[in-house]
């Protein structure tokens, strides 16, 4: 039954009052205790609260704002979802309520408490109220309910709120009853619409706008549509976060890797008679970059709130491609390990990544990342920083080229050349120190004995 909202008598002698402002508007959902409007009387401004829950309805022809009206003047209604306010019954903003109130209907004894229910959040333990069923369903579906917004009459979390949260769609409470009815009439999927407009209350206007728009293009015969796999979703979120939050700059330099090729060749030759894994270029690079980072700690850092955290230990991430997507297993304390140890560890980690047995700890906590696209004949590229790290080194292919050794003597030679692409976060480090870091790596690749003897 519609509840009539009238100009209240706010003092014993008050005969009339001025409605200053509607605080709630036509179609708003109201709960007991919500401020509906303000009234000026006897030079004081008063807030008028709702005593009932429902939808606030102001007659469309209401012109009462700013006018002095007698106490008891019918101003608005609170109706229940699906209920039409009795505007048509001749109730206008200037009619006193008494002329429109119907004879009281006989009320049966309903044994529900009639006192105003406690609103949600008033509980001693600080948690929102939740129905026993909703709590059970939350347990079954693994939904964390303490932060949910309940849609029960008193703000209680009920089953539908938990199920909505489980489906990752916003709670039904965000959709106004009017909008829900309009959606039914217009054939709009109101929950899908709510999911597209996170944090917004879905009104009838939004539903009508959605109804006017064409639905998303259906897939054609030569397209397929599939839900995003979980790993892809994680990668997508992290890449987008990196791209949106960092200030990435990529430096590229060409390096003479001839000496490194020799080191690797000798190791490989020796490996013929050795059961241990032969160190790969990645292992050699991991070690020499770890050595370089020890001298350039500002690149081995991360942004954490208001502070920059610099790590003495180098936890080296190695980007690994798998059937399931990109993984970055981490070699801990790479600066303190020998090349042999790094080689053994990286071989094990890569095997675990490929067969899916890798543990989460082995995929987190990196302080720097190396990504190598050399095997795919890529020279230079612009890697994306692996947050929260500061920088990432992209390694290109090693290719034999004719290079000028001495311009004066017009001497050229065939050398093994390689591009390095360093992307760093300019928020944390400037261009010159980053360039010096890359230059040091270049030196170490060109003269491996400089770091091999360390």
């Amino acid at each position: 039954m519609a509840v009539e909202i009238v100009m209240p008598r706010l003092g014993w002698t008050m005969e009339e009052g001025t409605l200053v402002e509607w605080i709630k508007h036509d179609g708003d959902l109201v709960a007991p205790g919500d401020i509906l409007f303000t009234v000026e009387s006897d030079k004081a401004l008063n807030e008028v609260e709702a005593f009932d829950a429902g939808i606030f309805r102001i007659p469309p022809d209401s012109d009462v704002v700013g006018k002095l009206v007698p106490v008891g003047t019918l101003l608005a209604y609170i109706v229940q979802p699906g209920e039409e306010p009795p505007f048509a019954s001749g109730a206008t903003s200037s009619q006193p309520a008494a002329s429109t109130s119907a004879p009281a209907e006989p009320v049966p004894l309903v044994s529900a408490p009639v006192s105003a229910p406690a609103t949600n959040g008033d509980h001693a333990n600080g948690l929102p109220a939740i129905s026993p069923r909703a709590k059970r369903v939350a347990g079954e579906l693994g939904v964390e309910w303490t932060a949910l917004q309940g849609s029960g009459r008193t703000g209680r979390i009920v089953e539908r709120d938990v199920r909505a949260a489980a489906q990752n769609r916003p709670a039904a409470a965000r959709v106004s009853p009017v909008a829900r009815r309009a959606a039914g009439e217009l054939g709009v999927d109101v929950d899908a619409l709510a999911a597209q407009l996170p944090g917004q209350r879905i009104t009838r206007e939004a539903v009508e706008r959605a109804a006017a728009q064409p639905s998303p293009a259906p897939t054609t015969a030569d397209e397929t549509r599939a839900p995003i796999p979980r790993l892809r979703q994680v990668i997508a979120e992290r890449m987008a976060a990196s791209s949106h939050t960092t200030a990435p700059v990529t430096l590229t330099t060409e390096v003479d890797a001839t000496e490194l090729v020799k080191v690797r060749a000798s190791l490989k030759a020796a490996g013929q008679t050795d059961a241990r894994p032969v160190p790969t270029y990645n292992d050699l690079l991991a070690k020499l970059v770890a050595e370089t980072l020890a001298a350039h700690p500002q690149l081995n850092a991360r942004l954490d709130g208001d502070s920059i955290v610099t790590s003495r230990a180098v936890h080296m991430g190695l980007a690994v491609d798998t059937d399931r997507g990109l993984f970055v297993p981490v070699i801990r304390e790479a600066q303190a390990k020998t090349i042999r140890q790094i080689a053994a560890e990286s071989a094990a980690l890569i095997a675990q990544v490929r067969d899916g047995s890798i543990r989460l700890e082995a995929l987190s906590g990196g302080t720097f990342t190396i990504t190598n696209l050399g095997p795919y004949e890529i020279d230079a590229f612009t890697p994306i920083i692996n947050l929260p790290q500061c920088a990432i080194l992209g390694v290109g292919r090693i290719v034999a080229k004719q290079v000028v050794l001495d311009a004066e003597a017009e001497r050229v030679a065939i050398r093994h050349m390689m591009f390095l692409s360093l992307t760093f976060d300019h928020r944390l480090v400037d261009g010159a120190p980053a360039a010096r870091f890359l230059q040091q790596i270049k030196r170490y690749i060109e003269q491996p004995y400089l770091w091999l003897v360390n």
Partner: protein
């Protein structure tokens, strides 16, 4: 299939059992040649005569006492109270003897006594002829309390009552007596303690008692056109009470309303609510609600009488309120 009124179906059950079992006899005011105030025995006097259709003076306690003794000796008395309000004059015999005799005799004595009478608010019968009282009987261990709501159930439940060895309070709502339903020719029994799902639904459960079943079903028809799906349960017997069926329904819907014409305090709704809360707490998505008749002696004035019984508008509102919880 043929259709019978509630009264005719119950009478047919009585006639079938009287023909089968000569130890059944009926006692009450006007049950003989007159055929009963509500036609409960019409035509039976011609068949079985005054020995088995015994008119009595207006002395409820006296003829209840005699029938209690008769039942102890192995016969099967049916006491017809016309209005069950009159049973109150015999409460001492009923509670202290009828309900307790099997217990006091360690089961050596049986008490196959059927006590029948009309109940409920209907037709300006005023307060001395409008009571239902079933919560009182449910409260006493020993009684079976049966409240049929249609002709089919009336016959099947009355047959079960006439075959059992326990005292049965068989309550016939005045507003339902002339309502017709399909009743098969073949013999059938409806066991006690088995509720009927009068309507299947998913969004809330309404347990309706007596004449409220029909009103709740009408309300649910109206709600169905809005896409609101309500499950309606008719317990049919209040002792024993089929709590498992109600729990199963609440497990599905999460919401429960009990609609009962009789008074709320200590009523059947309170009992159902307590048991469902205790056993089905984790299924509840909203507080259990009750809709009862007004807690007052029943007025004679027809408009006032109508005002004390839950009507369809109030039932609709109670269901909407429950769904909004």
């Amino acid at each position: 299939m043929r259709e019978l009124t509630f009264t005719a179906a119950a009478r047919e059950a009585l006639a079938e059992e009287m023909a089968r079992d000569p130890s059944i006899f009926v006692v009450g005011e006007g049950v003989g040649e007159r055929g009963g105030n509500f036609n409960t025995t019409t035509g039976l006097y011609e068949l079985y005569g005054p020995m088995r259709l015994r008119d009595t003076p207006i002395v409820e306690r006296g003829f209840i006492g005699m029938c209690t003794g008769a039942a102890m000796t192995g016969t099967r008395p049916v006491v017809d109270f016309m209005f069950v309000d009159f049973i109150l004059d015999a409460m001492g015999e009923l509670i202290n003897q009828v309900a307790k005799i099997q217990y006091m005799s360690s089961g050596r004595l049986k008490m196959p006594l059927v006590l029948r009478g009309s109940i409920g608010i209907s037709g300006a019968s005023a307060t001395h002829h409008s009571g239902s009282y079933f919560p009182m009987f449910v409260n006493i261990p020993g009684f079976r309390v049966v409240v049929p709501t249609n002709a089919y159930d009336a016959k099947g439940l009355f047959k079960t009552a006439l075959r059992g060895d326990d005292p049965v309070i068989f309550l016939e709502h005045k507003a339902l007596l002339n309502a017709k339903a399909q009743v098969p020719e073949e013999e059938y029994f409806i066991p006690f303690g088995q509720a009927a799902i009068a309507r299947e639904g998913t969004m809330a459960t309404v347990v309706a008692v007596g004449s409220m079943v029909r009103r709740v079903l009408e309300a649910c028809d109206a709600l169905a056109s809005e896409g609101i799906s309500i499950e309606v349960i008719d317990p049919r017997t209040l002792a024993p009470l089929d709590i498992p069926t109600i729990l199963q329904s609440v497990h599905k819907t999460g919401r429960l309303l009990i609609v009962d014409e009789t008074f709320a305090p200590c009523g059947i709704g309170a009992e159902i609510a307590a048991q469902v809360t205790a056993q089905g707490f984790d299924d509840l998505d909203a507080p259990i609600q009750r809709l009862n008749g007004v807690y007052t002696p029943t007025p004679y004035s027809p408009p006032l009488e109508a005002a004390v019984v839950p009507n369809t508008t109030q039932i609709l509102q109670a269901i909407r309120d429950l769904l909004a919880e």
